[in-house]
Amino acid sequence: MTTLKIKNVKKVYPNGADAVKGVSVDVEDGELVVFVGPSGCGKSTLLRMVAGLESVTEGEIELAGRIVNELEPADRNIAMVFQNYALYPHMSVRKNLAYGLKNRKTPQAEIDTRVSEAAELLQIAEFLDRKPSQLSGGQRQRVAMGRAIVRHPAIFLFDEPLSNLDAKLRNQMRLEIKKLQRRLKTAAIYVTHDQVEAMTLADRIVVLNAGQIEQIGTPAEIYSNPATTFVASFIGAPPMNMLEATTTGESLEIDGQSIPYSVKHSGRVQMGLRPERIKIVNGEAGFGFDVTVLEDLGATRLVHGHIGGQEITLAQDADLPAPSGHIKIGFQPDDVLLFDEATGQRILT
């Protein structure tokens, strides 16, 4: 069944900012959907509309079978985890967890069981009587998650919950969030601008740009079949190469060099090529490539350079000998993605 239906939702802020311009997404039961996009694309706004912290200008939000547009956040059966944790500083961890339940007039015995359950699950039982100021960033984040869990909500809403943590802790917490969500089987929306986070966490990714959905799909779909140049260059690190090319039907031409390539489309196109799909080749066939800079990242090496006048990056195993000067590169025709030059939409080949 579907937990959440966002139907053609729009948001215009009182100051005229057009933050969300008609978005429709469904979140299935137990599914973890990640909203990803650059800063200012409206992901937080969309999430906050689901939470009820922001009014909906147009469209409908249906949660667990009822329209919640006009409901207060407390009446929607959602739980939210904020970037800066937003724990109540003067309350102990225990009181932080219990506060929402107490306001709902939950019996004390029930509160106690739920709090100790959540504390057990998140391994914060030993901190229950501490104040948030006496906890580390990671522990605070756990408490924030505990506060969401005790509510037994229909859906969890995360707004960049890990961006205040250092890189190592972030990886660890990311994994824990995923495990936790799997275990509780509760639907969740997770907002981030970090595409690595999106790829590793999501059941499905919603890529947003300028208040609109660019693409919805599983991480694998989004990675290998981006619908637009925006998605193609946003997802994946290092980003996909974007080159100006021309197709004739039988060949693909980049800056005067061409290879045989059969495609129905002919004319100027944007050509996308993942760095890790490009190989250095020996012999005649392939594109002439001038190496400019090498970047060693440990296991892989990035080779920056250009074909004619166009910048291009390729990734290779760091064990291979470092290339230099003028070399030849090649790729499989299957790995080439073509996009319409004007609209950025994918041209299916």
Binding site: G52, L53, I78, Q83, A86, H90, Y99, N103, K131
Partner: protein
């Protein structure tokens, strides 16, 4: 803090103490000369007033202020506290102390409650002309009690509140300064806290009581200190407002004692001074007690 602690903490930023500073047993002489001079300026009159209050009033009248220790101490102070004075003979030192407390505490608590509610409305509720309302409140700083004392009196008199505690306190508790401080504080509270509370099902009232009030403890202590002392020392308004002697405060009582110069009587200087000393104790005590809380709050930094 002891002087050595002071010395240590002061010398942390620069590893070597500046060589030009003369130190004596770890104490910087010049700093302490200045400090002690300040202490002397502030304390000397108090000490003299205190010692003088232990002498007989006839002696004081003849020889002026005294530095030694007289034999009238306990008698003077018990007279001041217990003797029934005034025209009606109903008012004692104890009663005046009680009135002063009612005024001081009512004044401080009233100001805190009113300014907190005003700031809460201004910061958290969207109503038309909220900013304008704030600036109007702020502008009342330009109209202290002395400026509006006649209309204030008129209003209180019309309401029939002369010679009541309500009349004494109520017209004084609107506070632009307090509202301003609370407004600044509320604005610094992260918005997510309000949102988390909304999701947790707290209504506006619960958010104020459960979240904002505990977070403002430090602010409230600070305002309480200042306002209690100001309230305790009120003179003009109580003088105007209360003609019934049972509402007199200590500060007014001091003057009352001096006025006993009826006929050939020598004024009871010792009693006036004793009363001044007594009137000083509660504000000093409040500052000492709340200062601890105040500093503790600052150090713990809960936000």
């Amino acid at each position: 803090m002891t002087t050595t602690e002071l010395e240590q903490s002061a010398s942390v930023p620069h590893a070597k103490p500046a060589p030009s500073r003369k130190t004596f047993g770890g104490v910087r002489i010049y700093d302490h000369v200045v400090l002690w001079f300040g202490v002397f300026l502030m304390m000397a009159p108090l000490v003299v007033a205190f010692t003088t209050s232990s002498f007989d009033h006839v002696l004081i009248h003849r020889q002026g202020m005294q530095f030694g220790w007289g034999d009238q101490f306990s008698q003077t102070y018990s007279t001041v506290l217990n003797q029934q004075g005034g025209f009606t003979g109903e008012v004692t030192g104890w009663l005046m102390t009680q009135n002063s407390f009612i005024l001081g505490i009512g004044f401080a608590v009233g100001k805190i409650v009113i300014s907190m509610l005003a700031a809460y409305a201004i910061v958290y509720f969207r109503f038309p002309f909220a900013t304008l309302a704030f600036w109007i409140i702020f502008m009342t700083l330009l109209l202290p009690l002395e400026v509006r004392i006649l209309p204030s009196y008129e209003v209180v008199q019309q309401l029939g509140l002369l010679n009541t505690y309500t009349g004494l306190i109520l017209p004084l508790i609107a506070s632009a300064t307090g509202t301003f401080f609370f407004r600044q504080f509320f604005k610094s509270v992260p918005n997510e806290l309000l949102e988390a509370a909304r999701i947790d099902g707290a209504n506006a009232w619960r958010f104020l009581i459960d979240i904002l009030v505990p977070l403002s403890k430090t602010m409230m202590a600070a305002i309480f200190i200042i306002m209690f002392v100001v309230g305790w020392n009120q003179y003009l308004w109580p003088t105007l407002m209360t003609t019934d002697e049972t509402y007199f405060t200590l500060v007014r009582g001091i003057k009352q004692v001096m006025q006993n110069m009826i006929g050939a009587d020598i004024p009871k200087y010792n009693e006036a001074l004793a009363m001044a000393m007594l009137a000083m104790i509660p504000p000093v005590a409040v500052i000492l007690i709340f200062q601890r809380m105040f500093i503790k709050g600052l150090v713990e930094q809960e936000k």
